[in-house]
């Protein structure tokens, strides 16, 4: 049996970041080429637009053991697809409010607007989000524990 503190120290959260191809993914690229680091446990999934992110993807992530999910898109008004992120904004406002209503910590989910020119912001946002998720600890509430056991480790 491991002591409580030991497990706590070993905890490395899993963070899924959905980034729109045109702004936030490019912003993440810029963070990379500017060598602005953020924790390695942040993994990015490229989507054409933040409005492609289905609530099912967010839930799937939590089910599979993610501790935090963040959505990044172009700033409202700057969407490559004109209006996509406006829908994202409504959908995620409602969905994340709803998850919190079910008792999921509200800081486990986040929406950020990061433009292609905001490499520094991308890195800062990811550092901050990862820090917050670290503080929150493991996501026990929305997770299917079986998946971790059958997983790759």
């Amino acid at each position: 049996m491991q002591s409580v503190t030991e497990t706590k120290n070993e905890f490395v959260p899993t963070i899924v970041a959905f980034c729109c191809n045109w702004c936030s993914y490019a912003g993440a690229d810029l963070a990379g080429s500017s060598r602005l680091s953020y924790p390695a446990n942040v993994k990015i999934i490229r989507v054409p637009c933040s409005c492609r992110v289905n609530p099912m993807f967010v839930l799937k992530a939590f089910q599979q053991g993610a501790d935090g999910v963040i959505l990044c898109g172009c700033h409202p008004g700057d969407c490559h697809y004109v209006t996509g992120n406006y829908y994202t904004r409504r959908r995620m406002s409602l969905l994340f409010g709803f998850l919190n209503y079910l008792g999921i910590e509200k800081d486990r989910t986040r929406v950020e607007w990061v433009s292609a020119a905001e490499g520094a912001k991308f890195s800062a946002v990811m550092n901050d989000f990862a820090k917050r998720i670290n503080e929150l600890g493991e996501n026990k509430r929305l997770k299917d524990l079986r998946v971790k056991e059958n997983g790759h480790e």
Binding site: S93, L94, G97, L142
Partner: protein, 328 residues
């Protein structure tokens, strides 16, 4: 037979006999007085089984989706709250308005047989509400109960006596508007801590047996094939493997009907496990009202729901989730 029922049957018979409609959708007698079920009647002879009593809580609008597929004109009896669902179905092209004659029927709130039974009354043979009371007859004698104690939950938060749509109405007695606060349940949960809320929902949702009754009765859930039945969707499950999947089902279902749910309360009415599913949908309704302005799905049969609309000045998710902002 009550007067309203008489009128309804008479009208139904007229419509069928005059060939004004080919089909009438209403409620059919069950084994007992308290288990009428939705049914289609195609001739006036069949109408002998027609029933309209205080146990006819079922919302008939959804049945039109299937019934509309065959040709012919249909008459449907809708209580005021059911008419919103009808509008929503018309808006989404699930029901062809031209083929349907909507007859609005009187409603003073429908009764919950479980609640009557819980008062210790068995073998109920009839119940009739009048004023604030409900007179119950049973094989073992009669009783008078307080109406508010035996109404269906959904009728306790009645959204009004207005027909959102009706080609004609059958209302013999004036329907009284009742005042209630339908969001008090949501607010009570919102006031709890995250832990308490989680405990509440965990307890409620883990009761789910995935019978799909909520989905099947929901007038907003009319997909030809539900994502949860579709292997290609990536979320299909034949049987729930764990509690999370129950949550996933209910979260996604609530999200899918967000902005389209008229708050008819059928989901909670039919749930055999008595999960307060309406509290899920009402959270979305409450947040939509708060963030994007008052919206009642099914108020009309056209226009966009708030999830397929936007304003440049919409709240940011961070502040929206914190409950900081309100629609200006």
């Amino acid at each position: 037979m009550n007067k309203t029922e008489e009128q309804i049957v008479k009208r139904a018979a007229e419509l069928l006999d005059n060939k004004e409609v080919d089909k009438v959708i209403g409620w059919k007698k069950g084994e007992f007085c308290f288990d009428p079920s939705p049914a289609a009647f195609t001739s006036s002879d069949e109408l002998k089984d027609f029933v309209y009593n205080d146990f006819c809580g079922a919302n008939l609008s959804k049945y039109l989706v299937n019934e509309c597929k065959s040709g012919g004109k249909i008459a449907v009896f809708l209580k005021p709250c059911d008419t919103y669902s009808f509008n929503e179905l018309v808006k989404e092209h699930r029901v062809n308005k031209e083929k349907v004659k909507v007859i609005g029927v009187e409603c003073h709130g429908k009764l919950d047989i479980e609640k009557i039974k819980s008062k210790g009354i068995a073998a109920v043979t009839g119940a009739e509400e009048s004023g604030g009371k409900v007179a119950v007859t049973s094989l073992y004698g009669n009783a008078e109960l307080d109406k508010n104690e035996v109404l269906l939950d959904k009728c306790l938060t009645c959204k009004g006596k207005k027909f959102a749509v009706a080609d004609e109405i059958i209302v013999l007695n004036e329907m009284e508007e009742t005042k209630n606060d339908r969001f008090s349940g949501v607010e009570a949960l919102e006031k709890m801590s995250e832990e308490e809320r989680f405990a509440f929902w965990k307890a409620e949702l883990s009761k789910c047996i995935r019978c799909n009754a909520c989905r099947n009765v929901c007038p907003a859930c009319t997909c030809n094939k539900c994502v949860f039945d579709n292997n290609a969707s990536g979320v299909a499950t034949k049987a729930p493997a764990d509690t999370f999947e129950e949550q996933m089902f209910h979260i996604i279902r609530a999200f899918h009907v967000a902005g389209r749910c008229t708050d008819c309360g059928e989901c909670s009415r039919v749930c055999p496990q008595h999960i307060p599913l309406h509290l899920l949908n009402r959270k979305f309704i409450k947040d939509i009202n708060r963030l994007y302005g008052e919206f009642q799905a099914g108020e009309t049969d056209e226009g966009k729901n708030p999830l397929i609309e936007y304003r440049e000045s919409d709240a940011e998710p961070s502040s929206a989730v914190n409950g900081e902002v309100r629609h200006a």
